[in-house]
């Protein structure tokens, strides 16, 4: 799982798995939080390039990390989102909290 995380300055880059569900997201959130706390991370980038499926568990992963960094003025950014993922983000009202970039 380590290979899915990279720290660049105060950014944490997270390569999301091909299926983001409850099963996959538990370890992912835990590991992301270790990086955030251990590396003075300010901003988190979720890369959905490889993601073919995401359900509400993915919303939990994003909101959970957002809550960890927003009090320090950090940002959550989502990149390479498919149409399906954008629709899930939109329906959950996440566009208010995160930046979605191509």
């Amino acid at each position: 799982m380590e290979e899915n995380f990279a720290v660049i300055e105060n950014y944490l880059m997270v390569k999301m798995p091909s299926e983001v569900d409850h099963h996959e997201s538990m370890a992912l959130s835990k590991k992301a939080d270790e990086y955030i706390l251990g590396n003075r991370i300010k901003n988190v980038v979720f890369d959905f390039e490889d993601t073919k499926f995401m359900d509400s568990a993915g919303i939990g992963v994003i909101i959970g990390r957002y809550k960890k960094i927003e009090c320090f003025g950090g940002k959550v950014i989502a990149v390479n989102c498919s149409r399906q993922i954008k629709r899930i983000l939109d329906m959950s009202g996440l566009y208010k909290y995160i930046e979605v970039m191509e």
């Binding site: 499926f53 509400s56 568990a57 919303i59 939990g60 399906q84």
Partner: protein, 159 residues
């Protein structure tokens, strides 16, 4: 002689019982996409059905059985071009179904649940019915008709 094609008469049912553990969330999604495959659904239709099933199965695992395991029953029924899905647990049940189905309502915010599960099931399927009794368990019934738009239009929509 004239052959009459009665689409509605095609009925197929499968019932699967599996353990309420998180590894089986992906299994349930694969099973339903394989079952629906014969109707030649679009990428979007399959994604809708997989999401709805994933939400219902995850709810049985996390809420119904509170992560302590149990048995989930999934019944898939095809009637013409409509898929009927029933997902059932014999867990703790829901005291207030109306409240549970409200968008953003979750009884487990500490587990990073967002309260969007039922909203996704409702949005992605044609209809959704939830039956539950505290101490008895929960039954979720939902259905979706595949291919309601001509294939060409549906494919164009995906680009």
């Amino acid at each position: 002689m004239e052959t009459v094609k009665k689409e509605k008469s095609v009925i197929n049912t499968i019932v699967i019982k599996f353990d309420a553990i998180s590894q089986n969330e992906s299994f349930a999604r694969i099973a339903v996409s394989a079952f629906a495959g014969v109707l030649n659904p679009t990428v979007e239709e399959i994604s809708d059905i997989k999401t709805a099933v994933s939400e219902a199965v995850t709810n049985c695992i996390i809420h119904g059985y509170e992560n302590c395991g149990g048995v989930i029953t999934m019944e898939l029924m095809m009637e013409g071009n409509t898929i009927h899905i029933m997902i059932q647990d014999e867990g703790v049940g829901i005291a207030n179904v109306m409240q549970a189905m409200e968008p953003l309502y979750t009884s487990k915010p500490e587990l990073e649940r967002s309260g969007m599960g039922f909203s996704f099931m409702e949005a992605f399927m044609d209809d959704l019915h939830v039956f539950s009794e505290p101490g008895e368990g929960t039954v979720v019934r939902m259905s979706k008709s595949i291919g309601m738009l001509p294939r060409m239009v549906r494919d164009m929509d995906e680009v």
